[in-house]
Amino acid sequence: MKKILVFTSLGLALSAQAAGAVGIGLEAFGGVSYPVVQDDREQGGMWGIRAPVNLVPLIALEPYYARANYGDKTIDTIAGSQTLEGGYVSSWGLNVILTSGTPVFRIFPYLGVGSSTDDHPPTGDVTKTVYNLGLGVGFGLPVVKLGVNVRAEGQMIVNGDTSRKFGNLTAGLSYTFLSLP
């Protein structure tokens, strides 16, 4: 019973410390992006950079830049095999993260909004508003200020009455270069 109390108290203390921390970090990430119900492109790799800023308890603001390069789509026709270029999508914006957990392990849902350019040859590029909704888990090594974050994210680029949607799975390495209790 004592052990349970000790571990519970330790967990709560770490959680409170994390929730109240003020910090600025930088994260490089990479992963895979899956087009959702898009017949004209295939999945591709993505990479980017994030800079989470904790200024108030439980909430972090996170400016980000991301770029995904999509695979070409091949279709078979009586005129032969045809290739539709997958193109790329580059985005920048701001996520709002709800943080909970400890510096060693945390779970964080987030919402975001930004601007996204979808360059899909031969149609050309279109710049529209993008919305993000995701869930991440983070594993930290507070002593060396490093962490690993894994995220699953839904992304939607709204274009008039329709949209293009993506499912992103990423892993990132973060470094906290300013952390105040």
Binding site: I78, A79, Q82, L111
Partner: protein, 181 residues
């Protein structure tokens, strides 16, 4: 500060919700095989009848079509005449059958949606995706209207200079439509 953060979160959530129908959307590829065709200005010009409702991908979304993401007329054009031809494509609603050239190109007749493509005497020009898609240009808006209003139309390939004769091989009409509930 907490109120401001809550406001940001509420704003993002509201923006996502007001996106409404764009959440249920997608880009769907519709392919119609049109086959071979011989065109000769000495006789009534035969067209390529595009019957999109014959394809389930179109039928499943015909009431929800919002955009024409991309489109191409694939195949090859072989100039069997003795002089160079400059080929354009005119669209007439429905299955209009063989028509005199004057009717097709008259202001009250067809609407130009594709071209021009120059084919030297005796030469063959292959229409792959990128090349053909670019030649639709502003014709996409005419096509979108047709696709929204039933998707049954005839494409006439004609030359701006007469006489002309050429053969179209393995013609395929492919459209990527954007649909949203």
């Amino acid at each position: 500060m907490k109120k401001r953060t809550r406001g940001i979160l509420a704003g993002i959530a509201l923006a996502t919700l007001t996106a409404g129908c764009v959440l249920v959307s997608g880009q769907f590829l519709v392919q119609v095989e049109l086959g071979d065709l011989s065109v000769n200005s000495a006789a009534a010009v035969q067209g390529l009848y595009v019957d999109l409702p014959s394809k389930s991908a179109y039928r499943d979304h015909k009431n929800d079509i919002k955009t024409l993401e991309d489109v191409a007329l694939l195949g090859s054009v072989h100039n069997t005449g003795t002089s160079s031809v400059t080929v354009s494509v005119y669209l007439i609603d429905g299955n209009s059958g063989p028509l005199p050239l004057a009717t097709i190109i008259s202001p009250s007749g067809g609407k130009q949606v594709w071209g021009p493509l120059t084919v030297a005497a005796g030469a063959t020009e292959v229409l792959d995706w990128d090349r053909s898609s670019k030649l639709f240009g502003s014709g996409k808006s005419v096509l979108l209207d047709e696709i929204k209003q039933g998707g049954q139309f005839t494409l006439y390939l004609v030359s701006s200079t007469t006489p002309f004769e050429f053969e179209i091989k393995d013609a395929v009409f492919v459209a990527v439509i954007g649909a949203a509930k």
